[in-house]
C-alpha cells in the first residue's frame, strides 16, 4: 500500500542543505573530550595548595613559554596548510602540514624533557603528593591527546607524500584540523591552570 | 482544607509509626516518631510536603482515571477525533501553578535547612566526637575525658532549658553514616571531612539506628544504640567511664592471656598495657548491653562465641579468630566480664 505512494517532496524548491556529518561528529567528540578535561581541571584546582608534602608547584614549575608558542603556532600552520590545499597548492600544503607536525613534536619533546627533570632532579612523581598526581594526570592527558593528533597528522603526511591527497580531501582534513585546534585550546586552559593559577 | 489534609497525613503516618515511647514495639526507628528537635523539624516539614504531594496525586490521578474512562473508544466507526495541536493558555496555566508550588516548597525547605545547619549552641551543650570504623562506633567525650564504643550515652534535654549534644563526625576508614531516625536525620562520617550534627532528645530511653552508608562487608551490623539518660544517670555513667579498669585478682590469668596475645594490638583497657585503638575500647566492657556494635546481646555465651569464632556472629568483621584454647577463651571471657 505505502510503497506505491509517490515521492513528491514538493517542498524542495529551496535546496535541502544539512550540516556536514564530519563536522558535527567532531564537535560532538570535542564536547565529550572537553567534559573529560573539565573534570581533571576541577580536580587540579580543587587540590591546589592542599598537598601535605612537597615539592610544590612554585618550587619546581617553570612556565614552558617556548613550547607553548610552538604548539599554538601549529594551529596557524595547519590553517595555512588547509588554505593551500583548498587552492590546489599541494606542495605548500605538504610543507605547512609537516611544519605542524614538527611543532607538535617539539612540544612533545619538550614535555618529555620537563618530566625527566621533574622526576629525576626534583623528585616529583605521580605518587609523591596531590600536586604530583594532579599535574601528571592533567598534563599527561593533554600530552596523550597531542600524541594521538600527531599520529593522525603523520598518517596524512605519509599519504600526501605518496600523492594520495588532493584538493578533494580538504573538507575531511578540515575536520581533522578541528581536533588539532581543540588540542591547542585545551593547552591554553591547562597552561593557565597549571602554570599561572596553580603556581 | 489544609487542616484536613494535614490531619489525614498525620494520622496515616502515625499508624505506620510507633508511639512516642521508645519501648513501643511497632517501630523504634520510625522517622515519624521524633523525640528530638532535628527529627521533629523534619517531621513537621514532611507533613507539609506530604500534603502537597498527596493533593497533586489526587488531582492528577483523578484526571487520568476520568480520561481513561470518558475517552475510551466506544464505537469502531473509523471516525478520527478532532485533532487538537496545543494551547498556549493551558500550557501557561500548568506551568505557573507548579512554579508557585515549587516556590512555596523551596522557601519552606530553605528555612528548615538554615535552622538545622546553624543551630544555637548553649554553653553547657555536650560535645561528643564520633569516629566511624569498619564496623563499630568510637565515642569520645573530650571535655569529660571519656573514651568508649558502640553505645552512646547522652543527657536528656529539657525543652525549657535545652542541653543538646553536639556530635563531631569523623571516620578512620571508609564512609559511614550516623542514623538514629527518632533523634535526627542522618549525617555521613567521611575521612578527612569532619561533619557535625546535634540532637536534643527530650525523653529518656534507648534509641536505635544503624550505619546508613555502605562501608564494607559488615555494614549491616554496624548498629547504633543511643541511651538518653536523666541528668543523674548520665553523670553516674560518666563517672563510671572515667574510672580506670577494675582489677580483679581472680581473673589474672585471663588478663595475662589478653595482654600477651594480639588482643592488645587492637583493644585498649584503661590503666593497663593494652592501648590498641584499632578496635573498641574495652575498659568498661560490661557497661554495654550488646557486643560487636549491637550484633548480639552481651551474654556469657555470646562473648565466648565471639572470642572463639567472630564470623559466627558477624562474618567479615575485622575481629580475627584468635585460636585460643577453650580454657583460654573462658579465662579471657572471665577477664572481660570483670571490666565493669
Amino acid at each position: 500500500m505505502m510503497t506505491t505512494a509517490a515521492m513528491t517532496g514538493s517542498d524542495t524548491d529551496t535546496a535541502w542543505v544539512l550540516p556536514s556529518r564530519g563536522r558535527v561528529a567532531m564537535f560532538g567528540l570535542i564536547a565529550a573530550e572537553s567534559a573529560i578535561f573539565t573534570i581533571f581541571v576541577v580536580a587540579y584546582l580543587f587540590y591546589v595548595g592542599k598537598s601535605l608534602t612537597g615539592p610544590l608547584p612554585g618550587q619546581v614549575l617553570h612556565p614552558p613559554i617556548f613550547l607553548s608558542i610552538c604548539l599554538l603556532s601549529s594551529s596557524l600552520t595547519i590553517h595555512f596548510a588547509l588554505t593551500a590545499l583548498r587552492s590546489f597548492r599541494l606542495s605548500a600544503f605538504v610543507a605547512w602540514w609537516a611544519a605542524t607536525i614538527a611543532l607538535g613534536a617539539i612540544f612533545m619533546g619538550g614535555t618529555v624533557r620537563e618530566w625527566h627533570h621533574l622526576i629525576y632532579d626534583e623528585g616529583l612523581t605521580i605518587r609523591t603528593n596531590l600536586f604530583g598526581t594532579t599535574y601528571y594526570s592533567l598534563v599527561g592527558l593533554h600530552a596523550f591527546h597531542v600524541t594521538a593528533g600527531l599520529v593522525g597528522l603523520s598518517i596524512v603526511l605519509l599519504l600526501a607524500l605518496g600523492r594520495h591527497v588532493s584538493q578533494a580531501h580538504t573538507e575531511r582534513l578540515d575536520v581533522l584540523s578541528l581536533y588539532w585546534h581543540f588540542v591547542d585550546t585545551v593547552w591554553v586552559v591547562v597552561f593557565t591552570v597549571v602554570y599561572v593559577i596553580g603556581r | 482544607m489544609r487542616n484536613v489534609l494535614l490531619t489525614t497525613a498525620a494520622f496515616v503516618t502515625q499508624t505506620a509509626a510507633s508511639a512516642t515511647s521508645a519501648t513501643e514495639p511497632l517501630s523504634p526507628t520510625s522517622i515519624f516518631a521524633p523525640v528530638s528537635t532535628p527529627a521533629d523539624g523534619i517531621f513537621q516539614l514532611s507533613l507539609f510536603v506530604l500534603a502537597i504531594t498527596t493533593a497533586i496525586f489526587v488531582i492528577v490521578v483523578g484526571l487520568m482515571a476520568y480520561a481513561v474512562v470518558r475517552f475510551r473508544r466506544r464505537t469502531d466507526d473509523g471516525v478520527e477525533p478532532t485533532p487538537v495541536f496545543g494551547s498556549y493558555q493551558v500550557e501557561l496555566a500548568w506551568t505557573i501553578v507548579p512554579v508557585l508550588i515549587v516556590v512555596a516548597l523551596f522557601l519552606a525547605t530553605a528555612r528548615v535547612i538554615a535552622s538545622m545547619q546553624h543551630p544555637p549552641k548553649p554553653p553547657d551543650a555536650l560535645d561528643v566526637v564520633v569516629i566511624g570504623h569498619q564496623y563499630w562506633w568510637e565515642y569520645r567525650y573530650p571535655a569529660l575525658g571519656v573514651v568508649t564504643a558502640n553505645e552512646l550515652h547522652v543527657p536528656v534535654s529539657d525543652p525549657a532549658h535545652p542541653r543538646p549534644t553536639f556530635l563531631t563526625l569523623l571516620s578512620a576508614d571508609t564512609d559511614h553514616s550516623f542514623w538514629v531516625p527518632r533523634l535526627a536525620g542522618k549525617t555521613d562520617l567521611i575521612a578527612n571531612h569532619p561533619n557535625s550534627m546535634w540532637i536534643d532528645p527530650h525523653e529518656t530511653g534507648v534509641y536505635l539506628g544503624q550505619c546508613a552508608q555502605y562501608c564494607g562487608t559488615q555494614h549491616a551490623k554496624m548498629l547504633l544504640r543511643v541511651y538518653v539518660d536523666s541528668r543523674e544517670d548520665f553523670d553516674r555513667w560518666i563517672e563510671g567511664q572515667r574510672r580506670p579498669a577494675q582489677v580483679v585478682g581472680a581473673v589474672a590469668h585471663g588478663r595475662h592471656v589478653f595482654e600477651s596475645t594480639a588482643c592488645v594490638n587492637c583493644h585498649a583497657v584503661g590503666g593497663t598495657a593494652a592501648q590498641g585503638r584499632f578496635g573498641p575500647d574495652l575498659t568498661h566492657f560490661m557497661s554495654r548491653d550488646t557486643i560487636a556494635s549491637g550484633a548480639a546481646p552481651n551474654t556469657k555465651e555470646n562473648l565466648r562465641l565471639w572470642l572463639r569464632d567472630p564470623d559466627a556472629l558477624k562474618p567479615g568483621s575485622r575481629m580475627p579468630a584468635m585460636n585460643l584454647s577453650e580454657t583460654d577463651v573462658n579465662a579471657v571471657a572471665d577477664y572481660l566480664e570483670s571490666l565493669r
Binding site: A5, G9, A43 | I31, P81, S87, P98, S177, A212, Y214
Partner: protein, 558 residues
C-alpha cells in the same frame, strides 16, 4: 506498465548456512541489525540482573536470614545495579534509538555505520568483562570475586587498602570501555539527526522520538565523559599510587562523589528521556490524536536536559555540604519538576478528547503515566533536603528509583516493544498474552515497590544483607519479595510471547496501528535500504497527510 518492482522468489536464493548467517550478524553495520543486537543483549542481561535481584530478595524475606553470606549479598547488589543500568537499560535505549531514528527521519542508515558497529561491540565486550570478574576477580587461581563496592563505588572503599584484589578493577574497566561505546553511539545519534533528515523533515517536523533521542545523545556526551575521567583517576590511585581520592594524603572522598553524580544524575535522564520518546509516539496513535503541545514538549525536554546537569548533589545531601550548597541543589532539583510535570500534563491532554484503544502498548503507557507521576512525587519529597536527611540511603530511595526505572522506564519500553515489534519482525504478537504480561507485571510491581517505601520510612537503610527483627520491617520485606514472583512470571510471558510470535505470529503488514510517522510507510521488517520511496514530508504526521489528503496537518500546525 506495471509498477516496476522486482520480486525475488524465495527459492531463487540458495539458503544461507548457519555460519554465513552468524557472520552477517557479527559483521553487520546495518542500524536495524545493530538495534536488534543491542536489544537481545539487554534482554539476556535483564534475566541475569533479575536473578541477582531475586537472590537479594530471598535473603531479605526475613530478618537474620542466611540464604547467602554478606560477601555474596554485597556482590549481588553491586552487580545488579551495574548490570541493570549499563547492560540492560542503556543497551535497550540505544537499541531502540538505533533501529528507529533513521527510519523516523527518512534516512538510509546512521551517520557512521562502522562506528555504530564498533560502539556496539565495545559495549557488548564490556558486559562480558564485568561478568568475567566472577571467575577472575581474585586472580587466575582465586575464587570468583565480582565487585562488591556498590554501583556508585564510593571512595575510599575502592582504594587498594579496602578493596584489594581486582574485583573493583573489573567494575572500573568494564564501565570505562562501555562509556566509550556509549559516547560513540551518542555522537552517531547526534550526527544522524542533525545531518541526515530527509527533504522536508525540518527539526520542527521530526517526531518527538527523534527530539528526545537527540537530547539523550547530548546528555550522554556531556555526562558519561565525567565518569570516564573519574574512573581514570581511580585507576591512577589504585595502580600508579595516585592520591585523587586518598584521604590519607589529603585527598577527598567527596570529590569522587561529585564526579560520580555529575555523571550519575544525568544518566537517569539518559534512561528516562527515551522512555518519554516511546510514550510520546504511542499515546497519540492509540488516542487517535496528535501529541498535544509539540513545541512545548520539545522545549520542556531540552530544558530538562539542561537542568539535569545542575542537580547532581541532591544525591549528597547527607555528606555535609554547606547550607548554601544544600539549598542550591534543592532549588535546581525542584525546578526540574516543572518541565517534567508539563510533559505529564501534555500526555494527558493528548488522551483527552481522544478515542483511546487499550491495546497492550497503550496499557503500558497508561501504567507509565500513573507510576511516573508517583515516582516524581516521591522525588519531590527527596528533593526537600531535610526530608532527605531521613529518607536518603534508605529503602525509600530504593523504592523511588525503582519506581522510575521499572515503573516508568521499563513500562514505557515494554510499550515500545509491543508497538514496534510488528515493524521489527513483520509479525503481530499475541494480544492476550500481552495483556496477561501487563497485569501480572502491574500486580508484581506494585506489591514490591509500593511496599518497599515503608521500611524506608521506618528506618531501614539500603545495602544491608540482613536486618534486625522488632523494627517493623519484617512483613513489608516479605510482601516485597512476593511481588518478585509476579514480575518474574510477567517477564517470562513477555519473552515467550516475543519468541513465539516471531515464528508463528500473524503477518503484520507495514502499518498495523494506522500510525503517522515514516517508519510505518515501509515494509515490516524494513528492507536493508529502509525506503524505496519516501513520502513527502510537510508536517509532523506525513502519513496522516497521505491518508487524509482533504485534511492534512500542514494546514493547521504552527
Amino acid at each position: 506498465m506495471t509498477t516496476a518492482s522486482i520480486t525475488w522468489e524465495v527459492s531463487d536464493v540458495a539458503p544461507r548456512s548457519l555460519v554465513e548467517r552468524l557472520h552477517e550478524w557479527v559483521t553487520t553495520v546495518d542500524h536495524k541489525r545493530l538495534g536488534v543486537l543491542y536489544i537481545v543483549y539487554a534482554l539476556v542481561f535483564l534475566l541475569i540482573g533479575g536473578i541477582e535481584a531475586t537472590i537479594m530478595r530471598i535473603q531479605l524475606v526475613a530478618p537474620h536470614n542466611d540464604f547467602v553470606s554478606p560477601q555474596v549479598f554485597n556482590r549481588m547488589f553491586t552487580m545488579h545495579g551495574t548490570t541493570m543500568i549499563f547492560f540492560v537499560a542503556m543497551p535497550l535505549v540505544f537499541g531502540f534509538a538505533n533501529y528507529l531514528v533513521p527510519l523516523m527521519i527518512g534516512a538510509r542508515d546512521m551517520a557512521f555505520p562502522r562506528l555504530n558497529a564498533f560502539s556496539f561491540w565495545l559495549s557488548a565486550f564490556s558486559g562480558l568483562l564485568l561478568y568475567f570478574s566472577f571467575l577472575g576477580g581474585s586472580g587466575l587461581y582465586g575464587a570468583g570475586d565480582a565487585p562488591d563496592v556498590g554501583w556508585f563505588a564510593y571512595a575510599p572503599l575502592t582504594a587498594q587498602t579496602f578493596s584489594p584484589g581486582h574485583s573493583t578493577d573489573y567494575w572500573t574497566l568494564s564501565l570505562l570501555v562501555s562509556g566509550f561505546g556509549s559516547i560513540g553511539t551518542a555522537i552517531n545519534i547526534l550526527t544522524t539527526i542533525l545531518c541526515m533528515r530527509c527533504p522536508g523533515m525540518t527539526l520542527g517536523r521530526m517526531p518527538l522520538f527523534a527530539w528526545l533521542n537527540l537530547t539523550m545523545a547530548g546528555l550522554v556526551i556531556l555526562a558519561v565523559s565525567p565518569l570516564s575521567a573519574a574512573q581514570i583517576m581511580l585507576l591512577v590511585d589504585r595502580y600508579l599510587g595516585g592520591h585523587f581520592f586518598d584521604t590519607q594524603a589529603g585527598g577527598s572522598a567527596v570529590l569522587w562523589m561529585h564526579f560520580f553524580w555529575v555523571f550519575g544524575h544525568p544518566e537517569v535522564y539518559v534512561l528516562v528521556i527515551p522512555a518519554f520518546a516511546a510514550v510520546s509516539e504511542i499515546i497519540p496513535v492509540f488516542s487517535r490524536k496528535p501529541i498535544f503541545g509539540y513545541p512545548v514538549m520539545v522545549a520542556a525536554t531540552v530544558s530538562i536536559g539542561f537542568i539535569a546537569m545542575s542537580v547532581w548533589a541532591h544525591h549528597m545531601f547527607t555528606v555535609g555540604m554547606s547550607s548554601a550548597g544544600n539549598t542550591f541543589f534543592v532549588l535546581s532539583t525542584m525546578a526540574i519538576a516543572v518541565p517534567t510535570g508539563i510533559k505529564i500534563f501534555n500526555w494527558l491532554a493528548t488522551m483527552w478528547g481522544g478515542k483511546i484503544q487499550f491495546a497492550t502498548p497503550m496499557l503500558f503507557c497508561i501504567g507509565f503515566l500513573f507510576q511516573f507521576l508517583i515516582a516524581g512525587l516521591t522525588g519531590i519529597m527527596l528533593s526537600v533536603a531535610p526530608f532527605d536527611w531521613q529518607l536518603g540511603n534508605s529503602y525509600f530511595v530504593v523504592a523511588h528509583f525503582h519506581y522510575v526505572i521499572v515503573g516508568a522506564i521499563l513500562f514505557a519500553l515494554f510499550g515500545g516493544f509491543y508497538y514496534w515489534f510488528p515493524k521489527f519482525s513483520g509479525r503481530m504478537y499475541r494480544e492476550r498474552l500481552g495483556k496477561l504480561h501487563f497485569w501480572l507485571f502491574v500486580i508484581g510491581f506494585h506489591l514490591t515497590f509500593d511496599c518497599m517505601h515503608v521500611p524506608g520510612l521506618l528506618g531501614m537503610p539500603r545495602r544491608i544483607y540482613t536486618y534486625e527483627p522488632g523494627r517493623g520491617w519484617d512483613t513489608w520485606n516479605l510482601l516485597v519479595t512476593i511481588g518478585v514472583v509476579f514480575q518474574g512470571l510477567g517477564t517470562f510471558v513477555f519473552l515467550g510471547n516475543l519468541v513465539w510470535s516471531y515464528f508463528k505470529g500473524d503477518t503484520a503488514g507495514s502499518d498495523p496501528w494506522d500510525a503517522w510517522t515514516l517508519e510505518w510507510s515501509t515494509d515490516s521488517p524494513p528492507p536493508a535500504y529502509n525506503f524505496a520511496l519516501l513520502p513527502a514530508v510537510k508536517s509532523r504526521r506525513p502519513l496522516w497527510d497521505l491518508k487524509h489528503p482533504e485534511d492534512p496537518d500542514w494546514k493547521y500546525e504552527q
